[in-house]
């Protein structure tokens, strides 16, 4: 322990006990980020703030929500939405944020794919990020059940039913997950526990890992250039701010983040007040009825591409049943993005527009995912079913093709 002398200020007193000066340097003023970035680099902070909005609005919803099949719907749609002061505001914020967080996650994810920020030392950032995507998906799924509307019930029914496809233990597993033969009060309360406690805890842990994983490989930059961070940091500290290729997290990087964030919040709150049906589906304002299937069941938009892969296979192939094919494809789709660092056989870190083959792959993947998303919503009849089938095949084939494409690209010279 350092020899304690009388502190001359509160700051000094804290510094003697918590090393606040050193901490501030490490986490903020001497945490170096490349200067050659664009506003897409702000998506991480946008996600952080959206997550915080979800937690804070969630805290207030938690005061009035009742996790019981007889009380849940009314506790949300009467008590919170119409009785509690600003209850409607917190519910709208929570619902819209839950949807928008996925838009930003997809932008963030595709930024990483575009700039090759998942390889050459950054694999753990990528994996912890994909883990966060899976955790947020679980959080969204469990949260959607809570208002106990028609969509809550039927989405829960359909998705818990999927586990029945697992050989041998499937049927028993479904009953075990639900806590009953059918989606019931037991199911609601345990998913409430997951949504409010366990999954958020896991998310916070994964965020800590994700942030930590960034430190050693450092944040990427627009050109994929390998920067000597120590050298550039010294330039900056010596006063050569304009020549240095790096900027400190605080205040430079965050000042851009805060500007992007403020603009984002305008867009976000516009949706909260005036345009929220995409996030708060009208069908969910019908109370859950286990004996009445809605005419159209669909998950929230961010799950649609996945859902379409699940139901894209509607006929048996080579003796494997359609339902099983869909289940296998769906399982692959959940984890395949995790494997990006190893499927991409080119060591080049560069934006996609400088990688001739990868660039085609990137835009094709984006288009296929959008097609899957839109067709995941439409009724799967006639031509829709065929388009969905071919899009699912295309999605899988793109990942099969990636190693070959990128290996070729590496041989040809990459850039």
């Amino acid at each position: 322990m350092a020899k304690l002398e009388k502190a001359n200020s509160v700051g000094e007193w804290l510094d003697q006990r918590l090393a606040t000066t050193k901490l501030t340097k490490v986490m903020m003023t001497e945490y170096w980020i490349p200067k050659d970035i664009n506003f897409l680099w702000a998506m991480g902070v946008v996600l952080m703030v959206t997550f915080k909005l979800l937690i804070i609005s969630g805290i207030f919803l938690l005061m009035y929500y009742k996790p019981d099949v007889n009380m849940a719907f009314d506790s949300v749609n009467f008590t919170i939405m119409q009785d509690v002061a600003y209850g409607w505001l917190f519910r709208h914020i929570h619902g819209v944020a839950a949807s928008v967080v996925f838009l930003v996650m997809y932008i963030h994810m595709f930024t990483g794919i575009y700039y090759g920020s998942y390889k050459r030392g950054r694999e753990m950032i990528w994996i912890s990020g994909m883990l966060l995507f899976v955790l947020f998906s679980a959080e969204a799924f469990s949260g959607y059940m809570l208002p106990w509307g028609q969509m809550s019930y039927w989405a829960a029914y359909v998705i818990t039913n999927i586990f029945g496809g697992i050989p041998f233990i499937g049927d028993e597993l479904v009953v075990w997950i639900r806590g009953n033969f059918y989606v019931s009060d037991a199911t609601l309360t345990r998913f409430f526990m997951l949504h409010v406690f366990l999954v958020p805890l896991a998310i916070i842990g994964a965020i800590a890992l994700h942030f930590y994983a960034l430190r050693i490989p450092h944040v990427n930059n627009q050109k994929g250039e390998e920067i000597d961070f120590e050298e550039e940091a010294n330039k900056y500290k010596a006063g050569n701010k304009k020549r240095s290729k790096v900027i400190p997290f605080w205040p430079v990087f965050l000042s851009k983040d805060i500007f992007v964030l403020s603009a984002f919040l305008i867009f976000f709150f516009y949706l909260v007040f005036y345009h929220y049906n995409f996030a708060m589906d009208p069908v969910n304002f019908d109370p859950a009825d286990g004996l009445k299937t809605p005419a159209h069941i669909y998950p929230e938009w961010y799950f649609l591409w996945s859902y379409e892969v699940l139901r894209g296979f509607f006929f048996d192939i080579a003796g494997i049943k359609a339902a099983d094919l869909g289940l296998i494809a769906f399982g692959i789709a959940q984890v395949v993005f995790m494997l990006m660092p190893w499927l991409d056989r080119s060591p080049t870190v560069a934006p996609a527009n400088q990688r001739p083959y990868f660039r085609v792959w990137f835009w094709l993947m984006l288009v296929v995912l959008i097609v899957l998303t839109v067709y995941g919503k439409l009724p799967p009849t006639g031509t829709n079913a065929w388009i969905g089938f071919y899009a699912s095949i295309a999605f899988l084939l793109l990942f099969v093709a990636l190693p070959f494409l990128t290996a070729k690209e590496a041989k040809v010279g990459g850039k």
Partner: protein
């Protein structure tokens, strides 16, 4: 030397003991997720089949699931492997949940099919899957015939024969 290996041995024994504790805890946690005894205790529902109209689908609730009861009109071909026969009448008795992803199909009497709105699956009058993603016919619940009544939840001899087929 002997000290090191004894220390390692003790460490391993401790790890083993901790492991046993962890497994026991996980077992207890798994059991806490199980459905409650009140849920597991078999639900039985008895239906008087004489009230049914031929061609008109009747839906009742059994263990929280919808069960379809459909009395066959005279022109429906017999299917001994799936028909529930009570006296001179044949019925289709199945759990009304599509075997694809669990939505409730609707009965279209004019086309003599069950149609599932979720992904377009169809079943014939015997609830055998005929088109689309459903992997198997609608499931037949355990039943027992008592005179002109049907008790769902109980495995009668007719059900046992069907289940073996």
């Amino acid at each position: 030397m002997a000290d090191k290996s004894r220390r390692a041995f003790m460490g391993n024994v401790l790890a083993g003991v901790a492991g046993v504790g962890a497994v026991a805890s996980l077992y207890a946690m798994k059991k806490t997720w199980d459905p409650l005894p009140s849920v597991v205790s078999a639900g039985f529902t008895t239906v008087d089949m004489t009230q049914l109209e031929a061609g008109k689908l009747e839906v009742i609730k059994w263990r929280g699931k919808p069960v379809f009861l459909l009395k066959h009109s005279a022109d429906v071909k017999k299917d001994p492997a799936r028909d529930v026969v009570i006296g001179n009448e044949s019925y289709t008795v199945v759990i009304g949940l599509c075997t694809h992803l669990g939505c409730i199909p609707s009965w279209q009497n004019d086309k003599q099919i069950f149609h599932c709105a979720c992904h377009g699956g169809t079943y014939d009058v015997h609830a055998k899957n005929t088109f689309g993603p459903p992997p198997r016919p609608l499931d037949i619940p355990p039943f027992a015939i008592k005179g002109t009544s049907l008790t769902l939840g109980e495995e009668g001899p007719e059900y046992k024969k069907m289940a073996q087929a």
